[in-house]
Structure formats: C-alpha cells, structure tokens
Assembly symmetry: C2
Amino acid sequence: MVITKEQVLQALSHVEEPDLKKDLVTLNMIQDIHIDGNRLSFSVILTTPACPLKGLIENACRNAIGHFISKDIEVSVNMTSRVTTQKNTGVPGVKNIIAVASGKGGVGKSTVAANLALGLAKAGASVGLIDADIYGPSVPIMFGLEGERPKATQENGKTRIEPIEKYGIKLLSIGFFTDPNQPVPWRGPMVSTAVKQLFNDADWGELDYLVVDLPPGTGDVHITVTQTFPVTGAVIVTTPQNVALADAKKGIGMFMMNAINVPILGVVENMAYFTPAELPGNKYHIFGRDGGKKLAEQLDVPFLGEIPLVASISESGDAGMPVVLQENNAMTTAFMDMARLVAQQVSIYNARGVTDKNVVNN
Amino acid sequence: MVITKEQVLQALSHVEEPDLKKDLVTLNMIQDIHIDGNRLSFSVILTTPACPLKGLIENACRNAIGHFISKDIEVSVNMTSRVTTQKNTGVPGVKNIIAVASGKGGVGKSTVAANLALGLAKAGASVGLIDADIYGPSVPIMFGLEGERPKATQENGKTRIEPIEKYGIKLLSIGFFTDPNQPVPWRGPMVSTAVKQLFNDADWGELDYLVVDLPPGTGDVHITVTQTFPVTGAVIVTTPQNVALADAKKGIGMFMMNAINVPILGVVENMAYFTPAELPGNKYHIFGRDGGKKLAEQLDVPFLGEIPLVASISESGDAGMPVVLQENNAMTTAFMDMARLVAQQVSIYNARGVTDKNVVNN
Ligand SMILES: Nc1ncnc2c1ncn2[C@@H]1O[C@H](COP(=O)(O)OP(=O)(O)OP(=O)(O)O)[C@@H](O)[C@H]1O
Ligand SMILES: Nc1ncnc2c1ncn2[C@@H]1O[C@H](COP(=O)(O)OP(=O)(O)OP(=O)(O)O)[C@@H](O)[C@H]1O
Ligand SMILES: [Mg+2]
Ligand SMILES: [Mg+2]
C-alpha cells in the first residue's frame, strides 16, 4: 500500500483542536511527515507543552489515520510544541506574560505563581518568574535564595541584570536588591521604576512564559505592569470568604477596565478546605465553601481548580522548594493540573487574536 | 474611729501601679475620697477601662487600707478610668491612634483591628476605626455596612464627614466612598490624599482610641499615616510562617525607623493552629508553630497572644458582626485579652512620656 502526504494531511484535517476549534492542518500543527512503506511518522506541534489535551489529540490523530486511510499503518506520532504568542510583550524574547493577582492579600498569589511557573517548566516550557511585590517579596524565601544577588553587568552604558536560575526557571525578585531585614518605605513612583527594571534591564533570553507575582491591591505596580507591558492574561487567586471575593472582584474589574484590558485566564480557589490526616474523609471549610468556583461562574471566566489548606504547601514554601517539585504529592497533581489549565487558556487567547502564521518558532 | 483623707492617701501611696511602676497617689489616680464614720469610698482612675490589672489593683487598695489603717473600715472602691494621652495626635479629640499592621497580606490585620476596636469599646472606651486599605477595604463587609455612605456636610466651606456608628464605635472606610464592584486603580498620591481625609475631615468627637487598619506592605499609606499623625503605637499581626515573619519584621522595621519612630505595642500571632471539633485535643499547625511568639522574643516586644484558625472568625467577619461581639465564644475571650494587653501597652507608653498632669480629662 502506498500512502501520500496529501492523504495524511487530508485525514488529519478531520481532527479538530478542541480548544482552538479548527482542524490541526489549518492550524499548521502537523509537520515532519515521513512515510516509509506502511510506516508513517509525523509531529503534532501543540501550542504549549503543558497542553492538557495532549493524549486526546494524539488518539484522535491515530484514529483519523486508521479511519480515513487504513488500520494497517504503523503510526508514530511525535507530540511536541511551540508556544504561541499574540502580541509583542515588550520584553524581547518573551512570548507570554502571565500575571498572578488577587486584590486581597495573603490568599496565595506567590504560592500559585511559584508553583505555576515551576509546573509549566516541569511540563517542558521555558519559564521566568518576576516577583513584583516590593514590600513583601516572597521569591527569595520560597526558592531558598535569601541573600542572593543577581549579577549585573554594564553593556554600552546600560545595566544588564542576569536572572538567577533555580529549579530550571529564571527568577528575579525585588527582594534580591533590598536588605531582607530592612523595610522598603518607598512611595509609588520609586516602586514603578524598580518594577519596570525587572522586566527591561534583565536578560530573560527566550521564554515561553514569564509569570509575574503581583502584590495585593490594585495600585502602582499593577498599573505600571499592565500599562507598560502587554500582559497576555491574569490568573486570579482567591480564598473562599466574602471579604476575599470582594477584593478578587475588584482585581478582576481592574484587569477588565478599558485602559488596561487584560484577559482573565481564570480563578484559582486556594485554601479551600482542610483535611486532618486522622480524619481523611472530613473537609473543614474554615474560610467558607466554593467561593472561588462561584466567582468564576458569576463572572463567566474559567475555574482553574481548588487547592486545599495543606501544611506541606506552607512548609515547602518556607523551606525554599515549592511543593510542585515534590513527586508523589497530591498537591503536585493539583498544581500541575492548574498549570495545564492556565497554559491552555493562554493558547486559546493567543489563537483568538492570531492567524496561523503567527505561530512563532521557538 | 476617725480616719482622715491624709491617712487614706498615705495608705494608698503604698500601692504601686505594676505597669507604671509608681504608686497610685503619685500617679494622681486616687480621687473622690469620702469618709463617713468607718465607711470609706474612693475612686481609682485607671489609665484605661480595658486595664487587665483592674482586679489586682482594687485588691491591693483594699489590702492597703486594711493593713495601714484598720481592717474594720468598710471600703467601697469605684474603679473608673480616664484614658491617657501623650502627644497631640493631630486629630482633635482623639487621645490615641493605634495602627494595626503586618507587612504581609491576609494575616488578619482587619480581623484584629475590628475585634480590637470592638473589644476596647466593650471594655468601656470610646473608640473609632479607620479602614485605610484603599484597594481592599474590609470594614464595610465586616460591619455589615456595604453600600452605606457617611453623611457629609459643608461647614465654612469645608467638608465634614460623619463617621458611621455601629456596635458602639465610629467607623470610616475608604470603601464607603468607592463602588464595591469597581477597582480603585489609584496611584500613591491619590491614595495618600484620601487617607488623610479620613482623619482630618471627619467628626471623630472625643475618642480614647482610634484604631487604624493598614493595608499590607510598607507603602504610601503607611508613610502618610505615620508621618502626618503621631501614631501612639503599632500592633503587628503575623501568621507563623517564615514568609509572613520576614514581612512582619520589615513592617516592624519601618515603624522603628528614625523618620517614623512609632512604638511597637506588640505582636499578635494569628491563625496559629486549627482544632477540628471532632478532635478537640489536636492542634494542627498548618502554617507552622510559634512564629509570632519567637518574633516577639527576638525583637523584644510584647507578645499579645495567639488566635487559632476558627471558622467562626471568618464567618462572623463575612456576616458583618465580628466575633468579639458574641457571648460565650472562646474567641471572644481571646480577642478581649488581646484588647486589654494593647490598652495596657498604650498606657505604659503614655506614662513614659508624660508627667502626672498630662492625664487628660474625658
Ligand atoms: N493551600 C495552602 N495551604 C497551606 N498554606 C498555604 C496555602 N497557600 C498558601 N499558603 C501559605 O499561606 C501564606 C500566604 O501565601 P502567599 O504568600 O502565597 O500569599 P500571597 O497572596 O502572595 O500574599 P501577599 O498578599 O502577602 O503577597 C504562605 O505562607 C503560604 O505558604
Ligand atoms: N484566626 C482566624 N481564623 C479563621 N479565619 C480568619 C482568622 N483570622 C482572619 N481570618 C480570615 O482570614 C481572612 C483574612 O483576614 P483579614 O482580612 O483580617 O486579613 P488582612 O491582613 O487584613 O488582609 P489584607 O492584607 O488583605 O488587608 C478573612 O476572611 C478573615 O475573616
Ligand atoms: Mg505574595
Ligand atoms: Mg485588611
């Protein structure tokens, strides 16, 4: 039996990318077709290595070849990815900027940002993380980097900062430049300048995702970041209480304002409930129930999952090794699922604003 | 037996105020001495109605009369108070400004501020509460005052704002002036102006304590409040984790800076542990153990107690009636104890900087 490239493309044009609502061929996602007798191999270029539909799409491809060409073909599918981008992020080499925000303090923004960045990296993406919380930077402690100072070099009279690499991602925190024992009683304009430098003066290299951990509120840092850099989307973290939801709504409202206009990638409900080891069947909703899920429904944005109150999350943050790095931990699964959902939303937003050609090479 | 005023004063001059380290007579705390045969009555003017040593001092007075004059005297002691002040707070009629702060977000500043204000009022003080968190005001929800708008009148071309009264205290929140569904994307200078108005343009009347709920961080609001108004002291709230302690240290560092110089009244450890109803003997230290206590020791400031993680605290905040208002709740006791310790510290600081004459009349 002789099969042709055209037949393969024809068959695969019946496979729809469920999120992007177009077929794989139209989306330019099929490449490297090799035919050798009845052996066929090709690559599927997903829009993110963290694609939650990877297995589904691979199966659909195999089925399409079997159904439209022949069941006797030995198919080898190479699932790979090339992260999409939509607009110039303003930071050279950076494809997508993901802001993690909440309005409310202490709901777990930094925890989500760190585990999201590491989760995306674990899935195979190249990732950076900016800790833009001037007054309460968390990255130095959460990554065991207290006292570290990034290298800074002069290049044509301009300062270049080298992000610190840890656990496979690139990091910068305002905390690397300030004395951890000293307060930073800065007014807004100084804060804005410092935050811009983290983006502009650093050698980020090529990044699929640059995750930004924002401080609580909707103040100077938020305005500066969203107005200076085209943020791809925002992940909103909330805990289930009314007081937190009220602030989360305001945070979302800020991103939706005309002057800012940053898509909401979804809502994460953190500290959803506590389960004591001795009572594995019990869920104690200390901070209320389903607040984040309801908020997501109400505002018609994706719900990115719930994370329970677990001592290991707090401990691992304090110990300098975020929980998603652990193997065989239920929290690792929860954060990996969340990371995949976020990457999926980024791909969907990128696809809305782009034609096939905008799929950028790595 | 005939006793004289002089004998009574002589006897009571042996009673030391344990905090202020001087005797009651020198401190001008004994007044209204009435002698009628062997019946003696007098008033002890404490420095705060929330004095945790009230019972102790009353006993010491009775013992002194018995010991130095006669056991046969029928003594009636009227324990009352006149809250002290030290410096002009910059807000007419307000004796003491107590800032509640943390550095870190979401550790329970607003919860502590609300329950502290109500606890002081429950003890008999006249109290005001300013919610200075522009981006995430909590007072409207915590006091069931969403949608309320304080009355504003014009007086000689100046705007006068009338604080809202609820549960016996006077309240103002920036949240009363903004749309709860809209974000407040204000930069620092606007925020500073708005906060100053809450102090200056409001009719606070006579207040023993004006509690200020500060936003997280050490930013514009903190600088404005501490530099514009002579804050009596700061209560630092923290949870037990390292990331929270690091920020709490910075918060404390800010108050201790020369340019700011606000005394630290003490540290409250919030969300210290969780105890499920089914396992009343178990304490789950979800966020770590004793962090706040250790911080207080390390920085040599008073430890104001630990508050466990309890659903009723979160629920009562969401329901518009802070938990200290409930009777027969273990959390009521915890917050009342905390309020007494705070009032005690204020009295101690006031006594250090003042002579007896500075005891101001109500
Ligand atoms: N699901 C969880 N279970 C247990 N602890 C958690 C959980 N999520 C976050 N924490 C802990 O709660 C604290 C607050 O979380 P985090 O610092 O991530 O919040 P944040 O929103 O970034 O706070 P801030 O507003 O101060 O920036 C941290 O000590 C963190 O380790
Ligand atoms: N001890 C506790 N047990 C249970 N819930 C608590 C406790 N303390 C605070 N909470 C709840 O946790 C949430 C955060 O508390 P709160 O709003 O007082 O913190 P905050 O430090 O003022 O936050 P922000 O930094 O956003 O101003 C609230 O929903 C509150 O009701
Ligand atoms: Mg944070
Ligand atoms: Mg608050």
